[in-house]
Symmetry: C2
Subunit: 413 residues, 2 copies
């Protein structure tokens, strides 16, 4: 019903020529293409544009005369390296609200419209790669992983399929996920970004928003075609970006160790005939950004009594006003996209992520905690604080006296 009202109001809107969008329709053609073209404003049926925040760089390229403002991508040879979907969840309008399930198939599904001159672009790309992390070589050397020559080579190389996904928000669905009214969501998005995209409030007929935020990358281990079959066992790590640890190996948190451990779990699952999946979300510093993160590090290490678990979340809240802005409510969408209804091995301790999966009807069979030996020295504060706050652990939560101990290094140690 909601989609019907939307379509009507849309057709009454300023952009009479723009194709209608019926979110959650049973086929790509019935859903309709998403058009963010700048060249023909009359055809646009979304708010925002492609490539998220990188549109600002595109603007510099046009302004400096390096990019034609009417450039159309040549999509020859760019189709997904491996097929993904369609899965039944794609035609449930409430199941997937933060990405376009047809986003990797637009060149195929809308070939006739593209040939007729419409500027329709992929929001998802799927390719293959070989990856090699030094930790996997170490896992082979330690006997935790064994090379099989297919998934994992003796030199530590791992074959993967990977997908990059730009966010595509269906605003009525996002509002419903958060239990708020769509108008309240639109107004907050407009006001709290200091006036980004007035169409959020002036064009209620445009229901789809391409927000200028980072997206996600998926790494698949094993045969992607097996996803969506009930018998396929799945191992998974959902990882939220932490540049300081993921790239540089900063020892104040468990991020890269947990990521590497998650990949081990995924490789094992692929070797056993299942599929491993790492979801990497661009949500630096709990989606608070890195400046806030570093301010909080300083406050933690300078506070009276030193860096300790009992004030771990409080210090973030003083600076940012919240402990966390990652909003795991949207995270399960990617599992619906992949047709996954059950995760057999779940490499995460987060109760927020686990709760979000449960709310989305995705079963988690086994929770896999990070082995104690992989926790870096300065990350003890984080681990104690998280376990005390209800994160999953195989051990009992630390006692109060334990939480009051300063276990983190000082700023000048």
């Amino acid at each position: 019903m909601a989609s019907h009202i939307m379509l009507t109001s849309h057709n009454r809107g300023r952009s009479g020529r723009a194709p209608a969008v019926e979110w959650g329709a049973t086929s790509a053609r019935a859903r309709g293409p998403l058009i963010a073209s700048l060249g023909e404003p009359g055809l646009r049926n979304v708010i925002g544009t492609h490539a998220g925040a990188y549109s600002v760089y595109r603007a510099l390229a046009v302004a400096s005369g390096q990019l034609q403002r009417d450039h159309r991508p040549d999509l020859t040879d760019t189709a997904p390296a491996v097929a993904i979907g369609p899965h039944p969840q794609w035609s449930d309008p409430g199941a997937i609200v933060s990405l376009d399930p047809w986003g990797h198939r637009v060149a195929e599904e809308f070939a006739h419209l593209i040939a007729a001159g419409m500027d329709i672009r992929p929001t998802i790309a799927v390719t293959t790669a070989h990856i090699n992390m030094p930790e996997l070589q170490a896992a082979i050397a330690a006997g935790r992983l064994r090379a099989d020559g297919t998934v994992l080579a003796a030199n530590g190389d791992v074959r993967v399929t990977k997908a990059a996904i730009d966010p595509v928000w269906y605003l009525p669905g996002i509002a419903e996920r958060f239990g708020i009214r769509e108008t309240a969501l639109r107004r907050a998005l407009f006001e709290q970004t200091a006036g980004m995209f007035p169409e959020l409030v002036t064009r209620p007929d445009l229901k789809v928003f391409l927000p200028p935020i980072g997206g996600m990358t998926l790494y698949f281990f094993g045969d992607v075609a097996k996803l969506g079959r009930p018998e396929t066992k799945v191992a998974c790590r959902v990882h939220d970006e932490c540049n300081g640890s993921d790239v540089f190996g900063s020892d104040i948190c468990t991020c890269r160790p947990y990521l590497a451990h998650g990949i081990e779990v995924c490789v094992e699952m692929a070797q056993q005939g299942g599929v491993g999946l790492v979801v990497y979300n661009r949500k630096e510093g709990r989606a608070l950004g890195e400046v806030t993160k570093f301010l909080v590090y300083n406050a933690r290490k300078r506070q009276r009594g030193g860096d300790r678990a009992e004030t771990y979340f409080e210090r973030t809240e003083c600076v940012a006003g919240v402990q966390d802005m990652r909003f795991q409510q949207l995270m399960p969408d990617v599992f619906h996209w992949l047709g996954i209804r059950r995760i057999d091995r779940w490499a995460s301790m987060s109760n927020m992520k686990h709760g979000a999966l449960a709310a989305a009807g995705i079963e988690v069979v086994e929770r896999v905690a990070i082995p104690d030996a992989l926790i870096p020295p300065d990350a003890r504060v984080e681990m104690d604080a998280k376990v005390a706050a209800g994160y999953f652990s195989v051990e009992a939560p630390p006692a109060e006296a334990e939480l009051a101990l300063a276990k983190g290094r000082g700023l000048h140690e």
Copy 2:
């Protein structure tokens, strides 16, 4: 002079109570605070708001009732762990146009205004950390690095100072850097982002823009206080984000190997009494984003004749319309911020980065190429293409016949 006109037009603008901004003034107070407060629109003197694209998540936090819309950060104990500047370059209005040189010191410089109720926030945060990358342990084992117990511990731990920097664009300065008119820049920024921030075109009196794009992170090795002194030797790697390689070790490019090599060069310089600096820019996929990057990978590997150097840049241009959108013109700002006029060891092969430094008057003494043994198997295509295009190399550029050879793996190898 330009700043004088700006101030006048600014004071005549709608926000009569907003503090004036005199970009490049000799002190923070003379420059004036940058106010992106949403609570008191009349005080705002910038376009956009803090934390870049993460403001979209802040909007979700407010919409869902988890964050007070008038939350003010408590900046207690968050001041920089190590002092940076001021340097003479801070009062040259053309030298630094893409970050706020006073951005880490606002709580100190504008304490009186914050105490009086103004919402002034840091755009830079400076902290300390220990990092540990498996490659550094390997460098110790191979005898390339030796532990000294101060900069580098025997277990591979490295002491660093690090800074997170959010972008702050002075629009007249950005326009000048690109040799275009400010009105053309503003119009492109507005149009090519599909209408983000109408103030770009309606408020010419607002000269400062906080763009919702990723910023940068600096990693310092050695004593930061030595920067800005002519006798201090500096080693540097400017690294543009590549998540697939930096985090996952994808072997199609040299990104993480070059980053690890750059850190080795930086550690050595710190051990010799100089300062090492890694600049990590959030510019995924040459600032084209990861979806475009993966589309290009597919096109490279599927094209007739296979993945080869002679068509390396062309495949990107087909999809994106340009080969690169990183705009190294803005990159030298960070060196001006740090008072650096000479880089003794420069770990990069990019002729674009090198040219940008030269244009900014920063001397590069020695260019350090990546050792051949560190180039991953599938990255040969990239290396040949770059050297043929004028990138720095100690060897002669490859011959034409060499560039026509398919050296990259196929999609299903």
